[in-house]
């Protein structure tokens, strides 16, 4: 007992250090993802944030067209999560580079790449914190929100900073650019309409909950959900509320609109179809999984694709009150980002799973390909 008494403090210290190290992740194995990876499909090419790289894949068969960086082992550019933004000439994404040294800080970098070759055009690293969702391109400007509370607008050709707009909290939502206006929600519980040219506030819409999803636009009306369990319809010109719909939990992912119907899912997995003019519920369906991701519609609006946290991809028939179009496709891992879709294929991004991207036929949910293609031995 005497020995223990003499050594009680060093023992306590050692136990404390071990536990704190464990809790801090210093003693853990491979780094786990802290966010989800995003996909964008344009024509025949799928652009994917693939953790250590941005990948341009042939959308039909997942053949690699280019990757940035080519060799992440040799030329690491950090971890890529955010959905790439794509225009005619550019692919713009962001990464977080690990800190250098004990007191170093991670670098948060926007990378603009040549859309055809993947070669680096410019980069921007002024933001102080993490980029969570991707940016939007419009009118020659790339606009992206950051966890440091700022919205950054960069010249798409040069990467020069055109303006910043400071909000009161983190900005985790992808902005929506329509003509000369940027619509962006912030965790400060405001939805802002900013002038694309100079970042001046045209209007702001305060609520009781944070905004983390991208608004959808139809006939001059914005539809956006918030963490106050409400989905709002807002006049895009004036910022006045037209109607609101209340659910039982947060709306995180952005809604989808087709014809006169708005589709949205809350994080408990309740999918709603609402009259776009009045906000009245047309139907709703509860899925057996939490839903973080935004919703995606097939090109003809007949199917609504929903990624469940547990990895399942649902295809709901919009004309049959959300009945399954085909049996949900279960996958290993978590599906937290908005599915991407083209004419015939729907793409789902996964984290923590064997595959990071799954391509399925829109018609029947049959697998087209899985990436990476893991061969069982």
């Amino acid at each position: 007992m005497n020995r223990f008494w003499t050594w009680r403090w060093p023992i306590a210290l050692a136990v404390l250090a071990a536990l704190l190290l464990g809790a801090s992740g210093c003693a853990s194995g491979p780094v786990r993802a802290t966010s989800w990876t995003g996909l964008t499909v344009v024509g025949d090419v799928l652009y994917a944030a693939d953790l250590t790289q941005i990948q341009a894949l042939n959308a039909a068969d997942a053949d690699s067209l280019w990757a940035f960086p080519e060799d992440p082992e040799e030329d690491g550019r950090g971890t890529f999560y955010v959905t790439p933004a794509v225009d005619e000439d550019h692919v713009i994404a962001a990464s977080q580079m690990p800190p250098a040294g004990f007191l170093g800080q991670p670098r948060n970098v926007v990378w603009a790449l040549d859309r055809d070759t993947g070669s680096l055009l410019w980069h921007f690293d002024d933001a102080a914190s993490q980029y969570v969702e991707g940016g939007a391109i419009g009118g020659g400007v790339f606009v992206i929100g950051n966890s440091d509370g700022n919205v950054y607008a960069l010249d798409v050709e040069s990467g020069d900073l055109k303006w910043t707009f400071e909000t009161g909290h983190r900005v985790w939502a992808t902005p929506l650019i329509v003509s000369d206006t940027v619509y962006v929600g912030s965790m400060d519980r405001h939805l802002y309409a900013l002038d694309l040219a100079d970042g001046r506030v045209r209007w702001d819409f305060p609520t009781q909950g944070a905004f983390a999803g991208t608004p959808a636009l139809r006939n001059g009306m914005l539809y956006v959900g918030a963490f106050d369990n409400r989905l709002y319809a807002i006049d895009a010109e004036t910022g006045t509320e037209v109607w609101r719909f209340e659910s039982g939990n947060w709306f995180w992912g952005g809604p989808a609109v087709y014809d006169d119907i708005v589709y949205a899912a809350d994080v408990e997995g309740n999918v709603y179809a609402l009259d776009a003019d009045t906000g009245e519920e047309i139907w709703h369906r509860g899925l057996d999984t939490p839903v973080r991701a935004g919703l995606t519609l097939s090109e003809d609006g007949s199917r609504l694709f929903v990624s469940g946290q547990g990895g399942a991809l649902y295809a709901l028939e919009t004309a049959r009150r959300g009945a399954d179009s085909w049996r949900p496709v279960e996958s290993e891992g978590q599906a937290l980002s908005t599915p991407a879709v083209n004419e015939s294929i729907v793409y789902e991004a996964l984290i923590y799973g064997q595959h990071r991207i799954l391509a399925l036929y829109v018609e029947n949910g049959g697998e087209v390909w899985a990436y990476p293609n893991v061969v069982e031995e």
């Binding site: 003499t6 009680r8 136990v15 404390l16 966010s35 800080q105 914190s129 009161g168 983390a212 369990n229």
Partner: protein, 254 residues
């Protein structure tokens, strides 16, 4: 691992945030006070134990000299002394061990209430107690205090945020200095050397960890240390005149 503590604590932060004018710093401070009230019996026992050890230090030193060549006998005599004096040799480190889960819970709670990564926020969205009044829509809490982001570790971009880990160092050093039993007599003894080492190592370690975690955690450490220091002086003042101070007594005997 400590989510079973982190979720209730995060919800308590939400409730306090709502009750205290939607101020995150007020919510964390109030939670610190509540936690310290909860573990008050333990910290009092730690302080009493330290005080008694201080008082019996001369006797312990005598035993160490007397049985310098017989470790087994020394241990027996020391245990006998502890028993007679009603000292629990574990009394000093037990509160520290018991507080560990609270720290881990608090680290998680701050991470959930003021999340810096979206996965943490999404995870917490399923563990908010909706029956608590006014919690809908509160998350993520307002994270800025004096220009610092309470949900992020100190960073060069907010260079003044490094002042909090420094404050953690200073206050925990002061706390250690006051609460660690003073050693007398042979200042080169192993026990004395250990205590001196611990007075430096523990605060340094706390500072190290608060450099890695959200700034909000530093607020907890600083306030907790201040509470213990105040507690110490209140106890000292309360007992002044009752007993001779251990240090004075041992000096008198030296």
């Amino acid at each position: 691992m400590f989510d079973f503590l982190a979720y209730p604590m995060a919800n308590l932060i939400l409730l306090l945030y709502n009750l205290l004018g939607q101020s995150t710093i007020a919510a964390i401070s109030a939670l610190t006070l509540l936690i310290n009230l909860l573990i008050l019996p333990l910290t009092l026992s730690q302080q009493r134990s330290a005080r008694k050890m201080q008082e019996f230090q001369p006797e312990l030193e005598k035993l160490q000299k007397k049985y310098a060549n017989n470790k087994e006998k020394l241990a027996q005599e020391q245990m006998k002394l502890y028993k007679e004096a009603g000292i629990n040799p574990m009394g000093g480190c037990l509160p520290l061990l018991i507080q560990m889960p609270i720290w881990f819970g608090l680290i998680g709670a701050i991470r959930y209430a003021i999340p810096s990564t979206p996965l943490e926020l999404f995870q917490f969205s399923h563990h908010i107690y909706k029956w608590l009044p006014g919690v809908v829509g509160l998350v993520p809490l307002q994270s800025t205090f004096l220009g610092m982001d309470l949900g992020q570790p100190p960073s060069p971009a907010q260079w003044w945020s490094y002042s909090l880990p420094v404050l953690v160092l200073v206050t925990s050093w002061l706390q250690q200095k006051l609460l660690t039993p003073a050693t007398t007599g042979d200042s080169q003894s192993q026990s004395a050397a250990m205590n001196r080492q611990m007075q430096i190592m523990m605060p340094l370690m706390f500072m190290f960890f608060t450099l890695q975690y959200a700034v909000g955690l530093s607020i907890y450490f600083v306030l907790s240390s201040v509470i213990r220091i105040v507690q110490y002086y209140l106890i000292q003042n309360g007992r002044s005149g009752e007993k001779v101070d251990g240090r004075a007594r041992s000096k008198g005997q030296a």
